[in-house]
Amino acid sequence: MMPGPFAGEARSRLLPMSVPFRYFGAAVVFQILAWTLLARHADQLAGFAGGPSPLLGALHLVTLGVLAMTACGASLQLLPIATRQPVRSVAAAKLAWWLLVAGVVLFALGALRYHPPTMGVGALVALLGLAVYAWLLAENLRRARGMRVVVAHAWVACCALLLTLASGFALAQGYVHGFRFDRAALALAHLTLAAYGFMGMLALGLSYFLLPMFALCPAPGPRSGYASLGAAASAIVIVVIGQLSEAGPGPLGVAALLGLAAALSHIVPMELALRRRLRPALSPSFLLVRVSWAMLLASLVVALASALGWGYPRVAPLFGLLLVPGWLLSFNLAVLQRIVPFLASVHAYGSGRGSTLPSTLTSEPLLAAHRALHLLALAGLLLAVALDITWLARSATLVGLAGALAFAAFFLNVVQRLRAARTQPPTTGESP
């Protein structure tokens, strides 16, 4: 591989390609493992309510292995552009990846074998990896200039990450040594902090930067961004305090309403901005973005209904499905579909031919197959849990696995095409 002018430049805000791509590559592999595990234990899905089990392993393969992994890789590369500050240490970014990968593998193995001590060690190693990442994130944000809405969301995500680590550590300790708190309340606080707090705030914050860039439209004004952030942060604080003080369902209802207000304050201005785009064609990846927004709203409606006393027996897995694969995974995959070829095209630079076009690095049929399979799997899983149909759950997870394999093929194809583009003569400027 030909070293580009970025190599070895400490001031550069563009990381070596191997850094974000190792995170994205790991996310691709963990997604396959998560769907595989889910397919093998699909019969337990409708009754899942946490606790050491293969499904807890599958959940963390998605949350830590795919979502956090992608969030780390994407934010390490994209926040320096938004904040105009380089990453403090590339070595630390690599160390965080090693720790996170090792932690996720150990945690999933422990959960698969119903072995809390192994889960505890895995959680601890993953926490160390995320702590290194949190330091890198905080260092970058501390010196940030520009894009204040993005930076404000990232600060909330950083605080939520620290609380996620603390609650995760308490849960891991509880599984090994016994719980001193209400396990379900602590687990809900942990899920809220991780999903809506850390990953959610990064997803919403980076959207103000990424979606206008992808759609070539103006970014929504900062007022709605701050309103959304304020409502979301308040909702998260209310859930955590409410759960830890065992205050009952009242605070959960208030938090769900605030969450809905936050989500609408984000989605509506974003949709209005998208309508003002300057490039008429909108990438098909926006279908996944829009589905993810619908799932975010649905997760909050289910949370509100549950707080109001909706006695549906499978509300917990339904809520989890809407939140994790529905909102966060769909959004992550939509973003990955665009930033993987985009970053690869930037890294093709230095060969004397200008950056290779992202479209020439992208296999649209593979992405179309992935989108169809992912959405089909999601719909199947929601229906299977809602109606408690085991065969449908198993079929849906197999479709999800096929989707994950299609996504992996897309990722490998980008890397292969990039290598080919770097070794072939320029094809630009067709002769008249």
Binding site: P5, P280, F342, L357, T428, G429, S431, P432
Partner: protein, 157 residues
């Protein structure tokens, strides 16, 4: 995004104009129902823009802005954008030649459509990078006096 410096606002407005025109060209090249005469008119506008405005924009950035970026330790971004200028110029040359060769009442040949689509995508990607990385950096780097002198230079005074 609002920019603190006049020169950034000026470049941003030109980016919007480029996106608007090439967005229409991209859409027209992909649409089968549009009258060919409309597409030909758009392609000719694109060729005129590429020959004059785009070249002026690029030359100014290369002469006045990229060296300042390099001095400020952002040589990587400057050289990436300059390399893209070269690629866009290559594609634009072929496009302009083909667009100027269309006779009255003739349909645009397929190679011209392909080249127009390629140029549109290259311009979209380039504008994305300049909006994302170049203009915010210039907002930070330039002081008021330099900003004013750059606006004068760009205006040709």
């Amino acid at each position: 995004m609002s920019h603190a410096r006049q020169i950034c606002r000026r470049l941003h407005e030109e980016h919007l104009g480029t996106l608007d025109l090439w967005g229409k060209i991209e859409q027209a090249c992909g649409a089968r129902t549009r009258p060919e005469s409309e597409l030909v008119a758009l392609l000719r506008r694109g060729a005129a823009e590429a020959a004059l405005e785009l070249e002026r924009h690029f030359a100014f950035e290369e002469a006045e802005l990229f060296p300042r970026l390099a001095e400020a330790g952002e040589a990587d971004i400057a050289s990436l954008l300059e390399e893209e200028h070269g690629t866009i110029r290559d594609a634009a040359r072929g496009f302009i030649e083909l667009a100027r060769g269309i006779g009255e009442g003739e349909a645009p040949p397929p190679p011209l459509r392909r080249l127009a689509l390629e140029l549109a995508e290259r311009l979209f990607a380039h504008v994305q990078k300049e909006e994302m990385a170049l203009l915010p950096l210039l907002d930070d780097l330039l002081d008021e006096a330099t900003d004013e002198s750059l606006v004068m230079i760009y205006s040709g005074n």
